[in-house]
């Protein structure tokens, strides 16, 4: 959350954050929308391109750094969180974004995603979840739903999918949010919140792969179903959704589970509906797990509860050691027992 430039006469427009490289995603890919939202986000926060770094692994999403005009590092499959951690250890002043996909972050790189979140390194992870391996031509991914037919699962996937937000919360992330590629305003707001958060922020973006998994999220994202299938959470506000926000979520009496209730009917008032508290990890975990058909899917900042960041503590230890002892190589070599000959 560092390295934003002071707003000034040279404030950049979204297009100024695009690089001179020709974008090579498939026409209609959701990545275009995310790129557009990112460029708008960078412009709105006044990001300094010279102090901003995008780090990626491998996959369609991982081409992202080539298309923004900041510093960028397109690395190897799954390892972007580790490389980004190294960047922050060397220079904590840089603002670092990790762009990743469901396979990159949750399959080959699952270990690094876990650890960068629990360490709370100050960076933003944007996970493009399209529930499929695009770049390798359409195999099922760790977020693919059971039954997904793909070249490697001709009879349908028999694996239970991982929930990205659930994983992040389980790993101890202090900022977890979810958005949708084509919902520009919501996505920009979410990315801005992520960038403003000190510590590791995790944003899952539902991203449509037009070639290998087209419409994977249609049951949630299509206009006609959106009001019933999307719950937009805001800190302090009641958890309501549906046409005219007529439905709400409350704790089912006698257990720890959410249930959908009609607000204003059957004696249910707004006071019975839960209010979103983004500092409540248990609530965030419940929200992250909601899915159709029984529930709407939750979008927005599910959890935000800042804590000390990893690199700040690292550099505090470094500063303390430097204040306590002289960095004298000669003294280091002469420490302990020495003797003189001649």
């Amino acid at each position: 959350m560092t390295a934003t430039a002071q707003p000034g006469p040279q404030r950049l427009a979204p297009k100024d954050y695009g690089s001179d490289q020709e974008v090579r995603w498939c026409p209609g890919c959701g990545d275009y929308a995310i790129l557009k939202a990112m460029q708008r986000t960078l412009a709105e926060i006044g990001a300094d391109p010279d102090r901003t770094v995008f780090v990626s692994g491998i996959g369609c999403a991982a081409r992202f750094p080539y298309y923004v005009s900041t510093y960028g590092f397109h690395s190897i499959h799954g390892r972007a969180p580790a490389i980004a951690t190294g960047v922050k250890l060397a220079n904590p002043e840089l603002d670092v974004w990790v762009v990743t996909g469901d396979g990159d972050a949750l399959s080959i790189g699952g270990n690094h995603t876990l650890h960068v979140l629990r360490r709370n390194v100050d960076l933003q992870i944007v996970l493009f979840n399209n529930e499929i391996y695009g770049l390798t031509k359409g195999q099922y991914s760790p977020t693919s739903r059971r039954g997904t037919r793909s070249p490697s699962t001709p009879q349908g996937s028999i694996e239970a999918p991982v929930s990205p937000c659930g994983f992040a919360l389980g790993a101890g992330a202090r900022f977890v949010a979810r958005s949708i590629d084509t919902h520009q305003a919501h996505l920009v707001d979410t990315l801005k919140r992520a960038q403003a958060h000190r510590g590791a922020s995790f944003v899952e973006v539902l991203q449509n792969c037009v070639v290998y998994n087209d419409g994977a999220f249609a049951e949630v994202t299509e206009k006609e179903v959106a009001p019933d299938r999307q719950l937009h959470v805001r800190h302090g506000e009641p958890l309501r959704f549906g046409a005219d926000r007529r439905r709400g979520l409350r704790l089912r009496p006698g257990t720890v589970a959410l249930e959908v209730v009609p607000v204003g009917e059957q004696g249910v008032t707004e006071n019975d509906v839960l209010r979103h508290d983004e500092t409540n990890r248990i609530l965030a975990t419940l929200l992250a797990s909601l899915e159709p058909p029984g529930f709407p899917m939750a979008f927005g900042v599910l959890y935000c509860d800042p804590a000390a960041t990893y690199e700040a503590d690292v550099h505090a230890q470094l500063a303390a050691a430097r204040a306590a002892g002289r960095a004298d190589l000669g003294a280091l070599l002469h420490s302990g027992h020495t003797w003189v000959v001649g």
Binding site: I76, A82, L89, A90, N91, H112, A324, L333
Partner: protein, 629 residues
């Protein structure tokens, strides 16, 4: 006052259970010996198990020290003295004791139970099987308990003081001071004064026992005079310490104010992480990563952002880092990778040294992915090699692999401290000029690309593992461009041969009947064996390689001057294959993969065998000619 006999050199091994404190005992004897001015070399040898069941042969831990008034190059082929704290220690180590050597045994530990665990049908101290040796059996267990009585320790804690008793006796036997050890005990048990007092009592009691007891004629007190050495200030140093300090010195020489060292615990490399973790005042950030891959990737990320990125591991971890090494090569970022080699394949014998990662270091990556490979020869040489690794990494924008091993990591030797101000300097110049910049613009001399750090105004750029255009740094799939970039990466590394010293001959002439060519920690054994052979009048030379990739530019010519080439290695024949491949020379290997360093006698025997065979071949030829005639 006892008349002390004089010895030029002595090899002692302290051996006991892995819980008996043998490594500490050996280390303290080493410090006192160094302070007495002897040259020395050590060989700590311990099991992979942290606390193997007490009394078992596989739980034996030992520490060998070879010291003398002469030049000491190895930890010694044969032992003069074996200190055996229990039957298992005797069982495992007796084979290395020379005939007529001394056994100092804790008779109190030779109980029936311990004898059975060690596999002795009868007590060897009593049944005459040790007739070829001089045996001094003392009930060290009881003597220790007597010495520490009154310090309020329980039996178990009191018993654990017996290594200090044995140390006290050995310090007396070789006329060593006890001051450094006493200081160390005070420091170590600063929080438990009763333990400090008890350990000091044990130390002093062992010493006093030697001073006053009638040890009997076969065992005497000895004097080992100080070794001749160049004037200067000295200390003992292990390879681990020298590597850590060398990295700090290298960063200083490069003008980099931050070292980011990322590692994952692995035997025997972890000690480097531990040592560097204590050097934060020198700008060292240590990062214990979640795995080997994260460790190298964090180091790469740190290098990208302008720190000296370093990672270290051992063979299995190096295998995991392989893909990321390729990334560092493709993105042309400086990186130092320390490989403390151990016996393999797979988990192998984690605490035992080997030199079997040479192929992995030189060739073990997908595609054409060359990088420089260096190897230190001795513990103190690790300092210079670490600095050289930093120099090559930063000057050529490349990962560099340093091949240390489990022996160098733990072994200690005296080191004449360098003048810090006289160390080489090779300041890095980060790119700041935007004119004509692209991320893969190359220095015309070194072919290194520009190092432009994130945060530099006007130089925002993208790098990655995809092939890039030679002239713009943009992604490129152009066939001719890939050919050009592959050649450029290879030429950059090959060109390092012009920036390193020509290969010198460590001992002997630059031409002759036989060159013994080594690398890494076999230095001492080869040097001593060649010295002995030359004393016998044989035309043998010792050539020891620090730079294994690329080879020094004169190496082919140098090797061509020898009729025969012998390559001793602690592997199944790796350098010998590289030399044969590079220079088409008739080199033959001497290969030992026993988890133990070469003995001098093994190398010496191979030298004689090569030259004998040469003589036989020569006489055979003459005979054949005679036949024709």
């Amino acid at each position: 006052m006892i008349a002390r006999q004089t010895r030029d050199a002595v090899a002692i091994r302290f051996a006991g259970d892995s819980g008996d404190g043998m490594q500490l005992t050996g280390s303290q004897f080493t410090v006192e010996t160094a302070l007495a001015g002897n040259d020395l070399a050590t060989f700590p040898d311990f099991p992979a198990e942290i606390r193997a069941p007490a009394g078992t042969t596989f739980g034996v831990s030992s520490f060998q020290i070879h010291f003398g008034s002469t030049d000491i190059l190895t930890a010694g082929d044969e032992l003069d003295v074996l200190v055996a704290m229990n039957p298992a220690a005797l069982k495992v180590n007796l084979q290395d004791l020379r005939v007529g050597g001394t056994i100092i045994a804790d008779a109190g530990a030779f109980t029936e139970r311990n004898l059975t665990k060690a596999g002795f049908p009868a007590n060897p101290l009593d049944d005459g099987t040790l007739g070829r040796y001089q045996v001094l059996q003392l009930d060290i267990s009881k003597l220790t308990l007597d010495a520490v009585a009154g310090h309020g320790l329980g039996t178990k804690e009191a018993h654990r003081c017996r290594n200090l008793w044995a140390l006290g006796l050995m310090l007396w036997m070789y006329g060593r001071d006890r001051r450094a050890t006493a200081e160390w005990v005070e420091r170590r048990f600063a929080g438990r004064p009763e333990l400090a007092r008890a350990n000091l009592a044990a130390l002093n009691a062992g010493h006093a026992y030697g001073e006053t007891a009638e040890l009997g004629s076969p065992v005497a007190a000895y004097t080992v005079a100080p070794a001749e050495a160049q004037p200067g200030r000295y200390r003992t140093v292990t390879g681990t310490e020298a590597i850590a300090w060398g990295l700090v010195a290298g960063a200083r020489a490069a003008g980099l104010d931050r070292v980011v060292f990322a590692g994952y615990p692995i035997t025997p490399a972890s000690a480097i992480l531990h040592t560097l973790a204590g050097l934060k005042a020198h700008g060292v950030v240590t990062f214990q990563a979640e795995d080997e891959i994260a460790a190298i990737c964090a180091a790469i990320g740190a290098a990208y952002a302008g720190a000296l990125g370093v990672t270290s591991s051992s063979g299995p971890g190096m295998a995991l880092k392989t893909e990321a090494l390729g990334l560092a090569i493709a993105t042309e970022l400086p990186l130092v990778v320390i490989d403390s080699q151990r016996a393999g394949p797979s988990t192998g014998m984690p605490t035992k040294p080997e030199q079997s990662d040479l192929f992995q270091a030189v060739h073990g990556r997908n595609a054409d992915a060359p990088l420089p490979v260096l190897a230190p020869a001795t513990p103190s040489d690790c300092f210079a090699v670490a600095i050289e690794a930093v120099r090559l990494a930063t000057r050529y924008m490349t990962p560099v692999i340093v091949l240390s091993d489990g022996y160098l990591a733990h072994a200690a030797e005296p080191w004449r401290l360098p003048d810090v101000e006289a160390l080489p300097r090779f300041p890095v110049r980060f790119r700041t000029d935007a004119a004509g910049f692209h991320p893969f613009v190359r220095d015309p001399v070194t072919l290194a690309r520009a190092w432009a750090l994130p945060g530099t105004p006007g130089l925002a750029h993208r790098i990655g593992g995809l092939e890039k255009d030679y002239d713009s740094g943009h992604i490129s799939y152009d066939p001719d461009n890939h050919q050009r970039m592959t050649r450029a990466r290879a030429a950059k590394i090959a060109g390092i041969a012009n920036d390193i010293p020509p290969q010198a001959v460590q001992l002997g002439e630059t031409r002759g009947a036989l060159a013994v060519v080594g690398w890494g920690s076999t230095y001492g054994a080869i040097q001593e064996a060649v010295r002995q052979a030359r004393a016998d009048g044989l035309a043998v030379s010792h050539i020891h390689l620090r730079h294994l990739a690329p080879f020094p530019r004169n190496l082919g010519e140098l090797l061509a001057g020898f009729e025969r080439i012998l390559v001793p290695e602690m592997n199944n024949g790796q350098l010998v294959a590289l030399l044969r491949g590079a220079y088409l020379v008739p080199a033959v290997g001497l290969n030992k993969v026993a988890g133990k360093p070469f003995r001098v006698s093994e190398v010496a025997a191979a030298i004689r065998a090569r030259l004998d065979r040469k003589r036989e071949a020569g006489s055979g030829k003459r005979k054949a000619k005679g036949g024709v005639r």
